[in-house]
């Protein structure tokens, strides 16, 4: 049970000490000076300590420029120090809130405005909220291990990974694990899943007959950006300004997702990069914010020159050898095939070939003329229907469009500018939500116009904003800090934040909220139970696609060459094992392709396990869901995964872990550690042992025995996977 004492202890432990102690002279704008040591910052306050130990706080805006530069250069970037600063802000807020609530509780009996029934209700609310103002216990190593794997690797730890961490005696093993996971391929896959929901990365964006524009390069670009820790502002800039074909410049995938829907794309860009919902203003002045329809169209004009298709024969950037007449080249190849009798009646692959090649026309470029105009029914008096407007922004930097390569480039700079009041806030709020389950501000796609004075932890939010800037938008460093906080490493909250708390932002993070695994986390965890190396199979289509698109087809003189070229198309999206071999049906477990969600079809077909559990259809931003349903429960009770994949005698968990590794270790222990990342309690152990008793007899063949035994172990695995403990991240 949580006690007030833990709140107080928590505070006492959290005073930051920095190694940058150094006495210097500080000057404020009025010329006054003080000899002091720089302690740190909190929000916009600079904390100083004089030699006699007195503490001072100054607003950074009141300090001289030299002082401000010094502060900027000496901000702590050590993850532990930053994490401690966050913890302090979190605990301060909880404390403040706790005492405020306690006062309200004390005054409640005297409140003449409330009836007795209302008082009673309010009393319960206050007590509940007070309970949630006390920091939760620190997680056990098992809890931390499971959660950090799900958050950073996107899956539960394997048996070996779990054993290794739990056996480690180092006091810094948590920080070390965070570092390792941030640099793992699993992190790239996990973050890709997040971005693919945010940016709506899907296959078949452009269908040309049966051939489509491949998204493999875009997928690989996102993963590479995560791997190399490209600053988030840099990634945003690239996505907004990329030109050309997706095979050559994969970041064009971002704009291609909204091809032909320029105005929707503007709304989406605002939502994704600024947490701002301006769709309303597309049709009329925004009812809740100071955004006018004219503002919307002025913003849209920044992207007004950007097209996603090349017109006519102006597609010579690709397939150079074909010159400007790709259609003639396609016909030539068709004839060659026909002459050689290699085209079957009713075979559509000749059409496919032209479809595949036809995607050369899909290119992002700026054509120099603004296609955006006010709507035909524009009704305000600051413009005429169908009128063109000049690009300009209604907040943030004033952009001089002519100084940039194109209006689109100006727009991208405006978005990522440090002076954009929404870009960094949005980024830190979204990332905070990834780690803690809910944002500092909810909903994350609609940050209110006036942040200060709302009930959120404004100081923490601005601290995170500054921290992100100081960390130069490094995603890995930002997460490194968040995951090193005590706040993160506390147990998950055992109550759901109330609607009022969500609404007013008065959930102050006594620990992360309890979350259901995302569809991808759930799937990838099941994959972890079926294979020794969950990241061993990947999709490597980007390079092959590029080569295919750049092949000089005019050099083909025989039908066989053309057929070979066609068959290469089919290889582009194929999954590849770590040894370079293509994945085949033999690599399935229990008849199911158990590979990480990020490597498979984007998104999966409707009806696939992933979609049933809420994988986004990638039609809308953040369209995944974590609501339960009967079909989900039926899939876990009666479906293939729990009944013939995990319980297959060849499944990794049974073959290598439960039955493998000689006779060492207890089977039940091994299964519990693999599935729930913890060892069983004694009552669980005896239940499991009786549940796995296999009824074999001497008349059975070895194979029959193995199957009966696997099925018996399968009972326990089935039961564990069906627990809420498995499905929720504590």
């Amino acid at each position: 049970m949580k006690t007030l004492a833990s709140l107080l202890v928590g505070i006492a432990m959290l005073s930051i000490t920095t190694a940058r102690a150094e006495m210097r002279t500080w000057t404020d704008l009025s010329g006054k000076t003080v000899e002091a040591e720089f302690i740190g910052t909190q929000g916009t306050l600079v904390k100083l300590k004089t030699s006699d130990g007195k503490l001072f706080e100054f607003d950074v805006a009141k300090l001289s420029e030299a002082d401000r530069i010094f502060v900027k250069a000496n901000l702590p970037t050590d993850p532990a120090a930053l994490a401690a600063a966050i913890d302090q802000l979190v605990v301060n807020k909880m404390k403040e809130s706790y005492y405020g609530l306690r006062e309200e509780l004390a005054a409640l009996p005297q409140n003449a405005n409330l009836s007795n029934a209302e008082k009673l209700k309010r009393k319960e609310e206050i007590e509940r909220e007070m309970e949630m103002c006390i920091p939760n216990e620190r997680t056990s190593d098992e809890q931390f291990l499971r959660r950090i794997y799900l958050d950073l690797a996107g899956r539960i730890p394997t048996f070996d990974e779990a054993e290794k961490f739990l056996a480690d005696r180092s006091p810094t093993k948590r920080a070390a694990l965070i570092d390792d996971l941030l640099d793992s391929e699993a992190f790239a896959m996990r973050m890709y899943n997040y971005y693919s929901d945010l940016f709506r990365i899907r296959e078949g964006v452009f269908m040309m007959g049966n051939g489509d524009l491949k998204v493999d390069p875009y997928i690989e670009y996102i993963k590479a950006s995560i791997r190399e820790d490209k600053p988030f502002n840099e990634m945003a800039r690239e996505l907004l300004t990329a030109s050309g074909h997706i095979a050559d410049n994969p970041a064009t995938g971002y704009l291609l997702a909204d091809s032909g829907m320029r105005l929707c794309n503007l709304s989406n860009t605002f939502t994704i990069f600024m947490g701002t919902e301006i769709t309303c203003a597309q049709c009329h002045d925004h009812p809740f914010e100071e955004v006018y329809q004219m503002d919307f169209f002025k913003m849209a004009s920044f992207m007004g020159e950007t097209e996603t298709r090349m017109r006519g024969n102006n597609n010579s950037m690709m397939m150079m050898s074909m010159g400007s007449n790709s259609r003639a080249e396609q016909e030539r190849m068709g004839k060659l095939l026909k002459a050689a009798g290699k085209l079957r009646e009713n075979d559509t692959t000749d059409r496919d070939l032209s479809g595949w090649m036809g995607t050369t026309n899909i290119q992002v470029h700026d054509d120099g003329s603004n296609a955006v105009q006010l709507p035909h029914d524009y009704k305000y008096d600051d413009g005429e229907p169908n009128m063109k407007v000049e690009p300009s922004a209604y907040f943030g930097d004033i952009m001089e469009v002519s100084e940039y390569e194109s209006p689109r480039h100006a727009f991208a700079e405006w978005i990522v500018s440090p002076n954009n009041p929404r870009f960094t806030i949005n980024t830190v709020n979204r990332f905070w939500k990834i780690a803690f389950g809910i944002g500092q501000i909810e909903p994350v796609y609609n940050i209110p116009g006036h942040l200060d004075g709302q009930a959120q932890n404004y100081e923490l939010l601005t601290f995170l904003e500054e921290m992100m800037k100081d960390l130069n938008y490094s995603t890995k460093d930002f997460f490194r800090v968040l995951y090193n906080t005590q706040t993160y490493q506390r147990e998950a909250e055992t109550m759901s934040p109330s609607l009022a708390q969500m609404d007013k932002g008065t959930y102050h993070f006594p620990g992360p909220v309890l979350r259901r695994m995302t569809a991808e986390q759930l799937w990838d965890s099941l994959v972890t139970l079926t294979t020794a190396n969950p990241e061993g199979v990947t999709r490597q289509g980007a390079q092959k696609y590029k080569e295919w698109m750049h092949t000089d087809t005019t050099a083909f003189k025989t039908a066989d060459e053309i057929l070979a070229y066609k068959s290469k198309w089919g290889e582009i999206g194929r999954l590849t094992k770590y040894d370079g071999q293509y994945v085949s049906r033999d690599d399935n477990v229990g008849g199911e392709a158990m590979f990480r969600a990020s490597e498979m079809r984007q998104p999966q077909q409707p009806g696939h396990f992933l979609r049933m559990f809420g994988q986004s259809d990638k039609q809308l931003i953040e369209n995944q869901f974590d609501d339960g349903s009967s079909p989900q429960v039926m899939a876990l009770l009666n479906g293939k995964i729990t009944n013939s994949v995990l319980t297959n005698p060849d499944a990794y968990l049974i073959k290598e872990i439960a039955n493998g590794r000689g006779s060492k270790g207890d089977k039940v222990d091994k299964i519990f550690l693999s599935v729930l990342t913890r060892y069983p309690e004694s009552n669980e152990k005896s239940a499991a042992n009786s549940g796995m008793r296999a009824r074999t007899d001497s008349g059975m063949s070895d194979k029959q025995k193995m199957e009966v035994e696997a099925k018996a172990i399968g009972n326990v695995i089935w039961a564990l996977v069906n627990t809420r403990e498995f499905m929720f991240i504590q």
């Binding site: 009713n346 039961a719 564990l720």
Partner: protein, 440 residues
């Protein structure tokens, strides 16, 4: 001014949390049923159920319900009399011809787009696809505007087609049509897996409860409770007779009936749909495919159209025999028609400009054709009907209020058959109206 804005800001946020609560707890949207009297006064509201046949791929109009025999676009397809003077359907629809007094055709459908996905989206939602919102289909609209029809069974079901498409749109997954991929298999995973008998199943459930005890004791979160409730309900469902509703093999005389309906996907889908609406489910979509006939149309059409004709005919007869015909609306739709001009491969290509749909039962006055195509089936000559009007007709038959504004979680207003602004009052009103001659 600033304070006022802040308040409004809070208001929109509150809407968001209210919605979050609803979906998290699986609580369905509160019925908004009103205006039903006005609908009934206008001849609508007689249908309690709807079976919507959706022919994916683009159903050729000239070779089904709008034949042009003897013209340059008619091809090899002949017309046959329907018993209603001056109205013919194609030779591939003999059952419908015989039952034409119960059937109403629209021959003046027109669409804006010739791509399958876009066309299908318009037909299912009355709106064009957008990258910022997904609009709901008619089943979820009916549940929202009319309330849930049956206590335990879902309100809408989608048979065939793998569950793709806009579904419940912004109403959220709780209202999504229950997908049944294969009519023979019923609800996916609703029976214990092979080799798991009742004893073993119970033993596993006991194990699960033992293993989960400490976690459930500790976490009192709503989301955990919601999942536990889904487990309880699903276990109950697995033992209940409700599940039999989805089991085609439980239909009395099923083999004999399938001889009438046809034992292909459409036939089985139609029979299952009949079974579902008889049990109280409101909206069933039966999806059929194979209509994208770019090549050798006349090789494919006898079977494809034949199956459809058989299924529709048997369904009409069956519903009549069961006294369900007048309260069950049957609708046939598709994303577009096919080019009157026959292409080099003996097929027809995509043709959104003019195509046909069909209505029957549920208070629809049969024996009539609304709208007219020109001599060659190239364009609409009379009374063009859009996807919005098509859906307005469905909504009107079911008794939905076309002018009821429903707000998406983002605060944007939507109506069941598209919306526009009344030029005089500036109020948000329906963009499309039902085909009223069908209701006289």
């Amino acid at each position: 001014m600033k304070d006022q804005l802040k308040n409004l800001d809070q208001l929109s946020r509150r809407k968001f949390v209210a919605r979050t609560a609803k979906t998290a707890l699986g609580v369905s949207v509160i019925p908004l049923a009103n205006g039903m009297q006005a609908v009934q006064a206008a001849g609508g509201g007689k249908a309690e159920h709807c079976i919507f046949f959706y022919m994916s791929g683009g159903m050729t109009h000239i070779d089904t319900f709008d034949p042009k025999p003897g013209t340059e676009t008619g091809g090899a397809t002949k017309g046959i009399d329907t018993g209603v003077a001056g109205i013919q359907v194609s030779e591939f629809m003999p059952g419908i011809a015989k039952r034409f007094k119960d059937v109403a055709l629209v021959r003046s459908m027109t669409q804006k787009t010739g791509d399958h996905r876009g066309g299908s989206y318009w037909m299912h939602t009355s709106y064009g696809p957008r990258a910022t919102i997904v609009h709901p289909t008619m089943g979820p609209w009916a549940q929202t505007l009319l309330g849930k029809k049956h206590e335990t069974l879902p309100d809408s079901v989608l048979i065939g087609g793998g569950g793709g498409g806009p579904g419940a749109g912004f109403f959220g997954p709780a209202l999504a049509p229950l997908p049944i991929g294969d009519p023979d298999k019923g609800v996916q995973n609703s029976r214990p897996a092979q080799g798991v008998d009742e004893d073993l199943f119970d033993k596993r459930i006991d194990l699960m409860n033992t293993f989960d005890e400490s976690f459930q004791r500790k976490f009192k979160n709503d989301e955990v409770a919601a999942y536990s409730q889904f487990y309880d309900e699903t276990l109950k469902l697995m033992q209940s007779e409700d599940l039999d509703t989805f089991d085609l093999s439980k239909e009395p005389d099923v083999q004999k009936k399938l001889q009438n309906y046809g034992s292909g996907r459409i036939g089985k889908g139609a029979l299952l749909a009949k079974r579902l609406v008889s049990s109280g489910i409101r909206f069933v979509e039966v999806r059929g495919g194979g209509w994208d006939m770019h090549n050798n149309l006349w090789q494919a059409i006898p079977q494809r159209a034949g199956e459809l004709d058989k299924a529709l005919s048997a369904l009409i007869d069956d519903l009549k025999a069961e006294g369900m015909f007048d309260k069950t609306l049957i609708v046939l739709g598709t994303e577009f028609g096919r080019t009157p001009k026959i292409n080099a491969n003996g097929g027809r290509d995509h043709f959104p400009r003019c195509f046909s749909t069909l209505f029957a039962g549920g208070g629809i006055q049969g024996g009539q054709v609304y709208g007219k195509s020109d001599k060659l089936g190239m364009s609409v000559e009379e009374n063009p009907v859009t996807a919005g009007q098509f859906n307005a007709t469905i909504a009107h038959a079911l008794g939905m209020d076309l002018n009821k504004v429903v707000y998406a979680p983002s605060g944007r207003p939507f109506l069941v058959a598209g919306h526009t602004r009344d030029p005089e009052t500036d109020a948000i009103v329906t963009e499309h109206h039902p085909i009223m001659p069908f209701f006289s």
